[in-house]
Symmetry: C2
Subunit: 337 residues, 2 copies
Amino acid sequence: MRKVTMDDVAKRCKLSVATVSRVYTNPEKVSPKNREKVYRAIEELNYQPNMLARNLRKLQTNSILVVIPNIMNTFFSYILKSIQNTAFENGYQVLLGDTDKSPEMEEKYLHLLQQKMVDGVIFLYPRMHPSEIQRVIDKHPVVIVGHQETPADIPFVINNNRLSSQTATEHLIRLGHRRIAYFSGPLGLSLSKERQEGFFSAMEAHGLAVDESLVCEGDFYFQSGYDLALQMLASPNPPTALVAASDEMAIGAMKAARKLGISIPDEFAVVGFDDIKMALICEPPLTTMAQPKEDLGRISVEMLIRMMKGEPLSSKHVILNDELVIRESCGFHLNRL
Amino acid sequence: MRKVTMDDVAKRCKLSVATVSRVYTNPEKVSPKNREKVYRAIEELNYQPNMLARNLRKLQTNSILVVIPNIMNTFFSYILKSIQNTAFENGYQVLLGDTDKSPEMEEKYLHLLQQKMVDGVIFLYPRMHPSEIQRVIDKHPVVIVGHQETPADIPFVINNNRLSSQTATEHLIRLGHRRIAYFSGPLGLSLSKERQEGFFSAMEAHGLAVDESLVCEGDFYFQSGYDLALQMLASPNPPTALVAASDEMAIGAMKAARKLGISIPDEFAVVGFDDIKMALICEPPLTTMAQPKEDLGRISVEMLIRMMKGEPLSSKHVILNDELVIRESCGFHLNRL
DNA sequence: CCATTACATGTATGCGTTTACAAAGATTCT
DNA sequence: AGAATCTTTGTAAACGCATACATGTAATGG
């Protein structure tokens, strides 16, 4: 029982390869009688079309590449999951490109486009410079998720970082906090800057001074939130609340507070960003700006598919809104705004 | 700037396609002088070989499929990450197949093998029946991770569930606990059964009776641990310790304990299984059996690559040992065994 | 100096499909 | 009935590369 090709099934049912091929691509073009014969032959021989040949002939692979900073991060993997689901429903395979946040890796993966290994790519939170991206992809279908600094007109879908950060900050202000700290992500990233701006503008809008010593740059991860908070909370004039640009940092900060015997939310309120799985499970459950992860994934795939099919995009840039989910880390958790 | 093929670069440097092709596959077979010319032409034309053609010609894709129950689960995604890294280092792409634990999805993804879309697959924690797997893969390279019920001789790499569960239980026993609860995973899975056996055998070995009302079947996830513990801890005669077959369930149980005002580890000790990221971050940090996730991933890829190359396997079945990492959820956390 | 070998290159075939085109058969219309 | 049209099928040419084989050229040995 060696490899069975389309020729074999053609012989088997005494038809040409062309008609056999047609029952796959244009079943309605072949007579019901012969179609039946072909199906039977396929069944009997347990034939499966060779995708390599099909791909070469059609010059497409029906697969897309997802370039992702880190699959271990549940925020990213949630989006990835949404992407995979949507892709699968539409008959696309997804190739995984975990970059460990390295621009070099990003570029390597992008080359799969010119090599025709994938028909398109979804680029999650790129670190590469936009103009570099443009240079590499050279008119291939790409949609970017989570980053809008794209002078080249690459389609993207993002959330409204500035607004959301503002909302988070205002939540704390409304709760009576005046001395509020802010932990940002790496400021090299535009989304970090946007979120930081949102914080500043909310403070300003309410006539609150920002103590610069209370705004620090982290790296989005747990440890940095922990370290930063440990130091800050032990200082002479600690903040009463914190806006963190990621849930992990927020949770790290809470852990630091607990270590110092500072109770949350009574003595220290914190709000995070992302709504990762842990936000619900940690102690106390974290109030956070929930990003529309599912939509980010789904919409990006839908856009990409349209591009790959050469259909027009209703809009090249999609901006989604986040939602403040209030749990217990800020107090007054029964108040729905 | 149209699609540039190997013919173009051949013309450009006034050589045949054969020699151009050879600088990719057997550079040493072409004279240094011409090799240089080819390189230059490639550079000038910005040529990238078309993988579709190459794949068809060589009847292989240099990519592997990873079938995975759920990428959102950091335990799985850790292994996936290790797989991706190893694959990348060896020049392989990884295609993602998230199944949401559905055997039907598993089977669909497995078909990519016969369709030649991938050269081999790594099958993480399959739910399909082994004989079904055998039927579908039909002599293609496959290695299974985390499941050994494979009458068909498919290579696998697993951890020693029975032993580890025993070790975890003994840790609690040594700490003086006698009334110990056990939360298992779905008992349809062989690894759940193995872990449960380990628990029972440890108890028996120490002459301890197992109260059947204290062993419950969960589903590995947070919520089930929470629900089970909430009920059990509120009962008249609660256990003083718990062995959970997953970290998520363990953390769920700790959360339930906290809700009931039961202090950990003083009134209730718990040990988990897996050593997921959250185990370090949760409160208190969880003592757990750490699986060799990195090795599980790396070794499975290494085995698969050998198989794809037709090289012999030094051993078809690899069994790795877990490691008890002692943190604070059982007390006496300064004691290294 | 020619026979033998080693090396470098070119020619041409095939990998397994899809599809444009041609051909043949069935159907409709005048 | 013959022309015109539609439907169904077959023939053959790609798709872009790798490679067996043939050819040509340089190096080696007697």
